[in-house]
Symmetry: C2
Subunit: 263 residues, 2 copies
């Protein structure tokens, strides 16, 4: 099945703009205008070579450009397709409100239910580690002190969307279910409060970047998907940091919503 109808213009070989960029421009235009919809197949390399009368490397460069921009994904043996966007999950600023813990729900589960998504957690591991300076600074622990580290991966409807590692001072975690893979109803925040550390506020530091190769693998990210890096610090009523959570979130799967006071 040919799908060259989307290609209207010819190439101007005398133009300053490189031929492969002109080809990319036309394909991009087809995508952005909606002539090619999400999940639809782009013309094959052979079709583009024929249509534009150029070498294969030239059309491959054009396609590479679209892939780098996150507009297209290639599937070996099948073709190149307009990238599908996953449904976006909105994380509201009350997502760590105590009422969710009172319900016996951890934050991620509570959030997912709100949009009717099926959520799972896997790759849970608990250990004691010497945290990076970024973490120990926030926890206020000495640079040589160990802390309890809890790593896990979250999945939404079977797709991995988030990697998280929590760090908790040993004097809070030791001897509690925080040391176990399943920390019980309400998650670790409920356990921290059980220990007498009533939570008062969280600070979230949000940045964005492209994933490392490791992160891309674990989150199944196609090229052209950035991630959120979110470092959350939990403070108790005394103003002491009781947990730091370092999170990598698939950038196309989340919208973070925050409320700021004007006063």
């Amino acid at each position: 099945m040919l799908n060259e109808g989307i290609l209207v213009n010819q190439i101007d070989p005398t133009s300053d703009r490189a031929v492969f960029r002109q080809i990319a421009d036309q394909l991009r235009q087809a995508i952005e205008s909606g002539r090619l919809r999400e999940g639809e197949k782009l013309p094959s390399e052979a079709e583009l070579i024929e249509h534009y009368s150029v070498a294969r490397m030239t059309v491959r460069q054009a396609i590479q450009e679209l892939r780098n921009e996150g507009l297209a994904v290639a599937e070996h043996g099948r073709g190149v397709f307009v990238r599908r966007r996953p449904p976006v999950k909105r994380l509201a600023s009350d997502r760590f409100a105590r009422r969710h813990r009172k319900d016996g729900k951890a934050a991620f589960l509570a959030e997912s239910e709100a949009v009717g998504a099926r959520s799972e957690v896997d790759m849970i591991s608990v250990s004691e580690v010497r945290p990076s300076k970024e973490i120990s600074d926030r926890l206020g622990t000495g640079s040589d002190q160990t802390v309890v580290s809890r790593s896990r991966r979250y999945l939404r409807d079977g797709h991995p969307v988030e990697l998280a590692t929590s760090y908790i001072p040993v004097d809070i975690a030791r001897g509690t279910k925080i040391m176990e893979p399943n920390p019980g109803p309400g998650g670790i925040y409920a356990r921290i409060e059980d220990q007498g550390h009533t939570l008062e506020r969280f600070v979230e530091d949000v940045s964005t970047r492209l994933p490392t190769r490791e992160e891309a693998k674990l989150l199944n990210l196609t090229s052209g998907t950035p991630v959120f890096r979110l470092i959350r610090t939990a403070y108790d009523l005394q103003g002491a940091a009781v947990e730091v959570c370092d999170t990598i979130m698939s950038g196309d799967a989340f919208l973070l919503s925050y409320e700021l006071p004007a006063h």
Copy 2:
């Protein structure tokens, strides 16, 4: 000047891993281990071709991979360099606090001063437009109503870092300095309060993605730099939306910090 000392291993042509990926792996390792520092020059294509005994397209693919990951940038005629990271600016959650407006400062200026950066604003334009649904939904205006649109670009130490467009209902903006390029001391939030709309809170919706070509051009972004998209809605004491600001921020130049209550 040769700089092949960083390349320790040879290529295994029988490996499952493509040759260009193995070359990329070695260069990546050199960068991540610090053997190649920020701003340092990678071996030239000619050196890599010689060192690994491969075709030029193979080393170019390796370098392309690093560029896509945001680890390296190519400069035509000069070489390929380890990407430099700009200093990160932390935006605290009190950045729209009234005290900053009382000082006669708009938010961006107040923030920049805090880190000793020189800040400028350019490309200011004011017009009346029919906003997108995304905007009109937040403003609560009808889909056919026009609103006042204020666009501008922010620069830090001479480098563009942020594009912003504010949308204000015409009944608030008309006849005020909001319609002028320079809205006066304290920025447009001060003018909105002058009109009797005391600000109570803001809601910021943060997402991340790769820039469009247009955004990359205006923000001077190298491939491999995502952007923050931040849509801020300002509410007055009556709970009415009085402004929506649609912002694109260079993802490597900002860290967004927010405070969440635990109750």
